[in-house]
Symmetry: C2
Subunit: 360 residues, 2 copies
Amino acid sequence: MVLGQPPTPGRAVIVGTGLIGGSIGMRLRREGWYVTGRDRDPARAQRALELGALDAVGDDPDATITFVATPVRAVAEEARKALAAGPGLVTDVGGVKASIVDAVDDPRFVGGHPMAGSEQDGVDGATPDLFQGATWVLTPTDGTDAEAYAQVRQIVGTLGAETVALPPDRHDELVAVVSHVPHLTAATLMRLADARSVEHRALLRLAAGGFRDMTRVASGHPGIWPDICNDNRAAIVEVLDQLIEALRDMREVVAAGDRDALLAALEQARAARVNLPARFRTAADLSEVRVPVPDRPGAVADVAILAADLDVNIVDLEIAHSTEGPQGVLVMLIETGAAEEFRRALVGRGYRPAVQPVEG
Amino acid sequence: MVLGQPPTPGRAVIVGTGLIGGSIGMRLRREGWYVTGRDRDPARAQRALELGALDAVGDDPDATITFVATPVRAVAEEARKALAAGPGLVTDVGGVKASIVDAVDDPRFVGGHPMAGSEQDGVDGATPDLFQGATWVLTPTDGTDAEAYAQVRQIVGTLGAETVALPPDRHDELVAVVSHVPHLTAATLMRLADARSVEHRALLRLAAGGFRDMTRVASGHPGIWPDICNDNRAAIVEVLDQLIEALRDMREVVAAGDRDALLAALEQARAARVNLPARFRTAADLSEVRVPVPDRPGAVADVAILAADLDVNIVDLEIAHSTEGPQGVLVMLIETGAAEEFRRALVGRGYRPAVQPVEG
């Protein structure tokens, strides 16, 4: 943290102590937090306690924050329970967001989705470093309290992750492209190979690193997928249609022996893959952007999502409260290289930002 | 090597000193071989020399073996040149086999394809351990000299790889499933995401480990693919059609919200992925299988391919020559657990195998 103080360790509740919940608990405890938690399966909560993911099994009405890390179908109900149980913040880690955020709809709830995981599911695969350098999507809305958003963002930073803010439905569209459909495709490639291996027992001996890489995600437990495919059905079906269409084009290129078209397609894919953004790096050269935000619902969500649209990495974000009335100032640290574009975009949306370099 | 002596280091020529050719040179030199080589691009041969992949740039008419490691389109011509230049063995590493093996057709030529590679192409990515534990397909035919096959097999073992014998056209069908179509699919997924990222700049920030794994192969140089897609067109088009059909089924399952069908498909994929054979392990418990092979063309290819069909790992293979006439004995080491099935299959094809355990 460059701005202000590091977030004070607080008290957290983890609902659902699997891989993700357990990893959150382990990391928060390492950072000095007091963490309690529970699971629908008491043995799993007990195991999380044994592994050091929890200080105690149970609830905590004084929690600063509750992480709902259950399967998608249980998230909304657990989030509402947590909101009713105490005055703290509530967030979740579900792989789809629109259905959950619509169902919860509370100023203290901020939907979330860490883009990290492991084929080894369950708390035995948990590690405090699971989120280090990972992207963690938060989905603030017009109804999200600005301070709640800023705090959840800080806590996510404590876990080692970098936040990208997106509207819930946009999150769902994008993860269909980079997660849901690739997963279904990996499983489909694996099944095709498996079917052929009945006839040709040598087949799977020929599976080299490339095939192993491509199908690795298919080795994860399928239990989470029916919910995800249900809640994100429209986007997944749309992207599957696009993939089928694109593969049909590829088939025509191969069938026609069109070398130039094939090379062009593969060159384009190569350039895109090579340019895939690395995990966020800590920028050396930062600027502070101060944006007065009027007492308008959704201003923080609006600014944070605008930054994501421009691929501006917000290194830190705080709300500085004004002593005169409801107005606050959103104080962000961003890379200096992106500052001017961000400033102009903010002005274009009616904000009055002030930008200044940060002394090194 | 358990059987006989370790292969005597000899002299090798590498034609095409890229990633694969360079890695072969480095490993053979480490094993005491004298290695010369050349490349269409003299600077690349020079670089291979600098990196220790060659003892000298140039040809060697006294070579024990020539590895043709050029792009697919140049293999047949280079292989024929090498066969004409001296009495040694010739093999290649091309990603398709039927077109090459048909075009060369010589008792001293054994088609090959190491199932190993790297996204870092060029000799700068070469390493003597590239093939350690990898599967290396050899494609003997009725016209292949038995001794030539046995020797190429031993040399491939020297490189750290394990041989699987397949007929050339079967190799091509199978690599379409585990390599060619997965590669085209990875490129297609990457292009879909790239196209969407124009509209949503945050998209690629959401690409987590699974997506990165799935698209990694797309970062390789596309130069080899037009030849591969041309020479293996029929198999690739067939497998692409199967993939498109399977994805259409998956789309229907998602669109219909059919949880059970989705779970069943993903469970099947998971089981197959989890059971993907590990790299060959050295078996503790071996049996020797001795098969008298009459002076019949293709008997060695026939036996080796039969072993691959049964997924029997031939740990070692030698030809013991009879002093009385053209008959020889094929001596193989295999895992004891597979010995009885292999013996029965051999009998079923008219061979008269003798099996006995090897003293530990």
